[in-house]
Symmetry: C2
Subunit: 391 residues, 2 copies
């Protein structure tokens, strides 16, 4: 195990009707004027936003709406939000939604208090010194942003999708997590979320750090349960307990607890970011395409953890089979799982055209440099091969 620091100060308020406590939680953070960030109209129509506004009013907290945040959130929207936050003198950002809304709130939190262009905190040109406080009411379990110090923003001008990690600044103060709010998610959105949270664990699980039995063991347990609950939700989308497990797993997958003491990988996420940046497909859908291809590429180059994954997570019986067969069966079962979720594992099918792999590799090189990941360090030619394997 390597040295690590684990600090997860977010207060998770989990369960039925917990959104009614939003005002009280914001008030405890000293909020006087809240910027209420959200996506489309569903949170309005479902009555969630009205309930949250009432809960803020009851605590004497003023607010300003900031809606219309789209999936794969953009730098333009962040600039717009920074202007609103300054003009309206808000002192607290309340994200009501999933990763896109939360990540936009985090980007505004970095950009609003300073004259530095926020994008410089993403492209590596500057380091943030401060951030506004962010709170969350989670409606889509997927990105794990409610408990992480991460934020991913797409810059349409430069076609860059960049993820940053500033845990000391960006961990939300609180996250309200009511599994009931996720029951009406479309099946494909539930599936994307499940693929995403599982991948947050893979990125940490597939590591060359030796002696990580403890963290591997509980990571495997979380992956197994998410896969079980995912199957329940295909046929019982309003199963509260399955929704609750998936929601809590999404947080554990990305708050760092599954990565303690390990060198993490993150190649799959970076490979995927190029797909969703160029073709604007859902991040989870892109991961379902990339992960099996990445695993196939790594199978011969570094089989150890893939073998363990096949047996301990995908329940492959190793008896009488060699390593290659075991890993291959594990990957095949993972592909079946994605198909059962209604997702494709073909990039061509996903983007509906012949993908421009040259453009993806070029962009990858510009964003990430010459080598990607750690489990198997990938050259740009390796990345090209993985994209081809994902076709």
């Amino acid at each position: 195990m390597e040295n690590f620091t684990f600090w997860s100060p977010t207060e998770f308020v989990f369960g039925r009707d917990t959104e009614s406590r939003t005002g009280e939680l914001a008030s405890r953070c000293g909020a006087k004027k809240v910027m209420l960030l959200f996506g489309g109209g569903s949170a309005e129509r479902s009555g969630l936003l009205p309930r949250i506004r009432t809960s803020l009013k009851e605590q004497g907290i003023d607010y300003v709406d900031f809606g219309g945040i789209r999936p794969n959130p953009t730098a333009d929207k962040v600039y717009e939000g920074i202007e609103v936050a300054r003009r309206e003198n808000v002192d607290f950002l309340l994200a009501v939604g999933g990763g896109s809304v939360i990540d936009t709130a985090k980007a505004i939190a970095l950009g609003a208090p300073t004259d530095v262009d926020f994008w410089k905190f993403y492209n590596g040109e500057a380091m943030p010194q401060t951030a506004m406080p962010v709170g969350v009411v989670l409606t889509i379990p997927a990105a794990g942003s409610e408990g992480s110090g991460n934020s991913v923003i797409t810059n349409e001008k430069t076609l860059q999708k960049i993820s940053v990690r500033y845990p000391m600044l960006l961990r939300p103060k609180f996250a309200v997590m009511n599994p009931e709010l996720t029951m009406t998610l479309p099946a494909e959105q539930t599936a994307y979320g499940i693929v995403d949270m599982l991948c947050h664990i893979y990125e940490r699980y597939f590591s060359n750090t030796p002696a990580t039995e403890l963290v591997d063991g509980y990571s495997e347990a979380i992956m197994r349960d998410v896969m079980d609950q995912a199957m329940t939700l295909r046929y019982q989308p309003d199963n509260y307990d399955a929704r609750a497990d998936v929601m809590w797993a999404g947080t554990l997958a990305h708050n760092g607890i599954c990565g303690v003491g390990k060198t993490e990988d993150w190649a799959s996420h970076r490979l995927e970011h190029e797909i969703s940046a160029i073709y604007d497909v859902p991040h989870g859908a892109g991961l379902a395409v990339i992960v099996p291809a990445w695993m196939k590429f790594c199978a011969k180059r570094n089989p150890d953890k893939l073998w363990k994954f096949a047996i301990n997570v995908m329940a492959v019986d190793p008896t009488g089979h060699d390593t290659e067969e075991i890993i291959s069966e594990g990957i095949s079962r993972l592909e079946d799982f994605y198909h059962d979720l209604g997702l494709t594992t073909s990039m061509r099918e996903l983007v509906g055209t012949e993908p421009d792999i040259d453009a993806m590799v070029k962009s990858l090189e510009r964003n990430m440099g010459k080598v990607l990941g750690n489990y198997v360090p990938l050259s740009m030619e390796d990345c090209r091969e993985i994209y081809h394997m994902a076709l």
Copy 2:
């Protein structure tokens, strides 16, 4: 799953040489004068305390020593510490040790800022409103107090050993955790710690709350790994990776992550507290005696979780066996595990005399009322029976 709030704001700084960062961490908490709490002379002789004092001095932090804290820490020592903290105007409590030292620091943290007798916060006569900040350099992985909001203090005058939980006040600000510091622990102290942390998980695992697959799954993974690493440490006490797993597991066992969404039990801890309060035996040694007896008592009354524990944690093969046999085998393997650790499962052997069960039950009734625990709610007669089964 039940509604829950999970808030674990402690910064865990884990790994080799991390104690050299103590001064920096205390400084970040605004410490100007630190009360340095510790137990016997081993931390002095090993050079740990000198290293920590140097690290404080480097940050311009003044300190006052407060040593001599014994296992099963006492109210008398807390009163003494409160006086010192006030007289010396300390603004930060730094506990260097295990649960006894940390719990004493927490009790002083509650008592020093107020005129209310600190013991009233333990016996339920008063609720604390504030607490001084506490930091930790952990040397004994066991109690999990480095990440918990709990504290256990024994009052020798009243023969009461009482545990309190004030998570909003008592979670340490930081916990420095260097597994190397635990390599020289005597084998029996390592064993007591392992028994204690496992029991912190049992107390949460054995619950009647339905639909707890996720938390049960990762709790089982942690228990299995601790038992594996415990066997390694019997023969390789300086195995860094085994020490590291045990140390991190001790924190996860008691920071609440294994109890989210569940009604917890805590009968075994309360039954044990009477033994160690009267006979001053180590808490972990008392638990090794009580837990198997408690499990045997519960086996027929509420078999479900004991069956799952036997199969998923104690690796009992259920094929061809009925529930009773499976549970019985699971408990038998747990007893073997305790014996392998060098511990007795006989209360008579532990206390070296015929235990005064009447006195224990009487004290239990006074401290805890009429019913104990949740998995199987225990009457005082049930408790008496468990004590007899533990003889």
